[in-house]
Amino acid sequence: MKTQILAFILSIAVCFGARAELKFDKTEIELHPKPDDKQAVGHFTYQNTGKTPVKFKSVKASCGCTAAQTQKDEVPAGEKGEVTATFNIGDRTGTQVKTVTVETDDPANPHTVLTLRTIIPQLLEVSPTFVFWKQGEKADPKAITVKVGKEFTVKHIKVTSSAPDYQTKVEETGKGEFKIDVQPKDTNTANGTTLTIQSEDSPKVFYATARVTGAPPAPMVPAPAGQPAPVPPADQKAPVAKTAPTGQTH
């Protein structure tokens, strides 16, 4: 009887002792990619400090822009590994915070949220990225400001217009700032141009758009309640320049 009780107590003690425990070294990583980088990769290392293996049930990122994967589906006791999170920078700017949720069969930590914070350096900050004139409006030049990022030094920028109907003039206003004056030839017809802005040292390209917009739409009677609204016009594509682009360097 005493032996049986002792065996029972020992088996419970063994069960408590034989836990799985997946411990991540860090659950938040901050990345500082270079301006030309297309991806930022974070390595979240972990170790199974328990006595039984841990199985990964799922590893899901908060957005489609981040891919996350583990090296193995099961982590034996005492083994180390890592979850790799790859963030596609795309055309994003500023500080991007993306999370990866890891689900395991570890009863102590079934869910772990890993945070990837990516500080995307902004070589040039273009503001605004869109200037427009209404049809028939006076074709006065409009200004676009280009600010150089604090950690960079840029002495010259090159501005290229995709359409010859728009003139650009670049001047340096000092303190790491440039001013681009854009002016259409006339505002009689709706058209547009894409301005390509590039610094002398970097292949990274920045864009701004200048357009003469179509006439504002006539006010429409709202759809009666319960009926779908009228569909907006079909997708339009930006006009493509037929002649060679005009460029300006400063």
Binding site: G64, S127, F130, G192, Y207, P232, A234, D235
Partner: protein, 142 residues
């Protein structure tokens, strides 16, 4: 009766609650507790429909999700290909038009981020985020 330091601090902290609550009630229309998007920048599906044909629908979801299904006539504008897709949106826009941006659901941040970029970088006025996103649209339309 002189109160201890802790009690003094607690009384001050408690007193401050009353005007704070009053202010929260006063500003309830200008700030949402659920999301950083102010109520003035969000529209429901019904409100978006009521804007009529003056609306440009913008889908902030990734390309694959847009290709699978989207609001009829919506333009794709996601941050993966922002520079490539923005000119197409700007070509469709003209002064007076309203813009409604959506992503998959209420919890998704992509629409808010895209809307903020349109407002701050391109300085496009009248940009709204669709409350409930694509999920809410499907519920009302399918």
């Amino acid at each position: 009766m002189k109160l201890s330091l802790t009690r003094q601090a607690l009384v001050l902290a408690a007193l401050s609650l009353f005007p704070a609550m009053g202010e929260a009630i006063y500003f309830r229309g200008k700030i949402s507790w659920r999301s950083p998007i102010p109520p003035s920048e969000m529209v429901s599906v019904d409100q978006a429909r009521a804007l009529g044909g003056n609306v440009i629908w913008v889908d902030a979801r990734p390309d694959e999700e847009f290709a699978r299904d989207h609001v009829p006539g919506a333009l794709s504008l996601n941050e993966d290909r922002w520079n490539e897709l923005l000119p197409q949106f700007l070509a469709a826009w003209s002064p007076g038009k309203k813009v409604v941006v959506y992503c998959s659901a209420e919890s998704c941040d992509l629409a808010r981020e895209a809307a903020e970029r349109l407002r701050k970088e391109a300085q496009v006025p009248d940009v709204f985020v669709l409350e409930g996103g694509w999920e809410a649209w499907l519920k009302k339309n399918r």
